[in-house]
């Protein structure tokens, strides 16, 4: 393997380890989504298998969203401790540091997705063919990329204290409006209209489509890609601004 590439991977590994050792991270991105999934689907005696599957995808998406956005808190922390500054005087280029961070995002969303899907399959009796399970997991994994970029943008732009609050607002706002917690069918019309444009709605739609074995709507992938471009630009601009001060 090329050295620069293996350095990036080593960096992503180090940061992923650091993130997964954070108990707050594990509780909020694995524990809470699983708990909420089990509560929402088992209280009130809801036994409709389709609803259980949709809720499973929604909560897995919510966990992955939280994990991806929390990257911002980690970056803000690394700016304030001086770790990013220390990295700047190693041979690793700043671009590799950002690439490594994005790669970290791709790793730390996996426990949320895995845990909620496992809860669905083992505890809630969600049944689908193995290939469909795999496709759902992969769709959720890839679909979380825009949120990783959003997290990076927040982390490079905001002060650590602000980042925490903004991350929570982003996660909860996008989760609720995107219909990850409650089905969009329960929304008033105006909220449903807003919801259609959110990245989270399309993210969940991608997962649900694979779980239900049909193709996503024509709008889903382009809209998610457009959001990835917006958040990617946000991350790049924030990073350039902070590079002068880190």
């Amino acid at each position: 393997m090329n050295t620069a590439l293996s350095t990036t991977v080593a960096y992503a590994r180090l940061e992923a380890l650091r993130t997964l050792r954070d108990q707050g991270f594990v509780i909020s991105t694995v524990g809470i989504p699983v708990l909420m999934y089990l509560l929402f689907t088992n209280l009130g005696g809801q036994h409709d298998p389709a609803a259980r599957t949709a809720a499973m995808v929604g909560m897995a998406a919510y966990g992955a969203l939280g994990a991806a956005v929390s990257l911002g808190g980690a970056v803000a922390e690394d700016r304030s401790t001086g770790w990013l500054r220390q990295l700047r005087i190693t041979p690793m280029s700043p671009r590799r540091v950002v690439a490594g961070r994005a790669l970290t995002g791709a790793v730390v969303v996996l426990p949320s997705i895995g845990a909620v899907l496992l809860a669905g399959g083992l505890l809630n009796g969600v049944r689908m063919p193995p290939l469909q399970w795999a496709a759902t997991a992969v769709a959720l994994w890839l679909g979380s990329l825009p949120f990783t970029l959003l997290g990076l943008g927040n982390g490079y732009r905001l002060a650590p204290q602000t980042t925490g609050a903004v991350n929570v607002a982003c996660t909860l706002g996008l989760a609720v409006v995107g219909g990850l917690w409650f089905p969009v069918a329960l929304f008033p019309d105006w909220l449903a209209a807003v919801s259609a444009w959110t990245p989270t709605r399309r993210f969940a739609e991608l997962g649900t489509a694979f779980a239900e074995g049909h193709t996503p709507t024509a709008a889903a992938v382009p809209l998610l890609a457009a959001w990835a471009a917006v958040f990617g630009t946000y991350a790049a601009v924030s990073y350039r601004r902070s590079a002068r001060t880190v």
Binding site: T3, A10, L14, R85, I89, P91
Partner: protein, 305 residues
């Protein structure tokens, strides 16, 4: 290896708002030397080191490092540094952190060696964030040396260390220097600069106000301290003696600062005033105080070589 200087500052200026943190700095660091950047807080030491490492760019002038730009030297893995600000990296062990930094370099030293050099072998599996201040400082030292760089830059390296840890730290630095490494460290401890540097550069108000070996700096101020007992004699004549620039009477003892200790002592002998004679070179602290002022303006820029 070529013998171009390890680092060069040419007429470097850097301003932060109203503060001239570097005000025309000229400096060449030779290969293999251990150089101390000495100055009060706010004298411009950290700014100079930041410019040297390419963390900042000068407003005017030029900084070169190992024959290229700071960025090139850093990317090539020829520089290691220990920055002053910064808290411990949370949720990572000493070995993981030092091992990771080492592998970003093209020819690092074995991780076990870096840990041993910094006295961290027994702490290798502890979390960095749970170490004491002194231990965390040693981790930053190991991080600076892990890549086996040609030049190591240390900003206030011993600030949180106790006496024993300081000794161990300088022992490790001597080992690094013996292998031909160039070291540049900043400090506001005179004794440290005096004991461990081949050369001292005094910064004040963003300017180099003195540059030389510790002995040369002592000579710059010229002169010495001459002390005698007065034995009840009046002290008025002392300020008129040849060479004397300052007289201080403490109880029955007179302490004379003089530009020409030989002439002063001869004149004291001629007046039969020698009782309990003591002649001493100026303490480096006096040199330092003579070169810098609390308001940050240089009093004696001519001392610049």
């Amino acid at each position: 290896m070529t013998q171009e200087p390890a680092a060069v500052f040419e007429a470097v200026t850097k301003t932060y708002g109203p503060v001239r943190a570097a005000d025309g700095v000229d400096l060449a660091v030779r290969r293999g030397e251990t150089l101390a950047l000495l100055g009060r807080n706010g004298a411009g030491k950290s700014t100079a080191l930041g410019l040297l490492l390419g963390l900042d760019t000068p407003d005017s002038g030029r900084v070169s490092l190992l024959g290229g730009t700071p960025g090139q030297a850093v990317r090539a893995g020829r520089v290691g540094a220990m920055l002053q600000e910064g808290r411990a990296v949370p949720r990572v062990t000493v070995r993981e952190l030092v091992g990771f930094v080492a592998r970003t370099y093209p020819r690092p030293m074995p991780v076990a060696d870096a840990l041993a050099l910094a006295g961290l072998t027994a702490l290798a599996d502890r979390r960095v964030g749970r170490l004491s201040g002194g231990q965390a400082q040693r981790v930053r030292f190991a991080v600076a040396l892990a890549g086996a760089p040609e030049l190591v830059v240390l900003d206030e390296p011993t600030v949180a260390l106790d006496v024993a840890a300081r000794g161990a730290f300088w022992e490790a630095m001597r080992g690094y220097a013996r292998r031909g490494g160039t070291a540049l460290f900043s400090t506001h401890h005179l004794e440290e600069a005096d004991s461990f540097a081949d050369r001292i550069v005094v910064l004040d108000g963003g300017r180099v106000v003195a540059d030389g070996t510790p002995e040369e700096l002592r000579r710059t101020t010229g002169g010495a301290l001459v002390a005698v007992d007065l034995a009840g004699a009046p002290a008025a004549f002392l300020s008129g003696l040849p060479g004397v620039t300052e007289v201080e009477i403490r109880g029955d003892r007179a302490r004379l600062r003089t530009d020409d200790p030989d002439a002063t002592v001869r004149a004291l002998a001629a007046r039969d005033a020698i009782r309990g004679l003591e002649v001493a070179p100026p303490a480096l602290a006096d040199v330092f105080l003579g070169l810098t002022r609390a308001d940050g303006t240089a009093r004696n820029p001519e001392a610049n070589r």
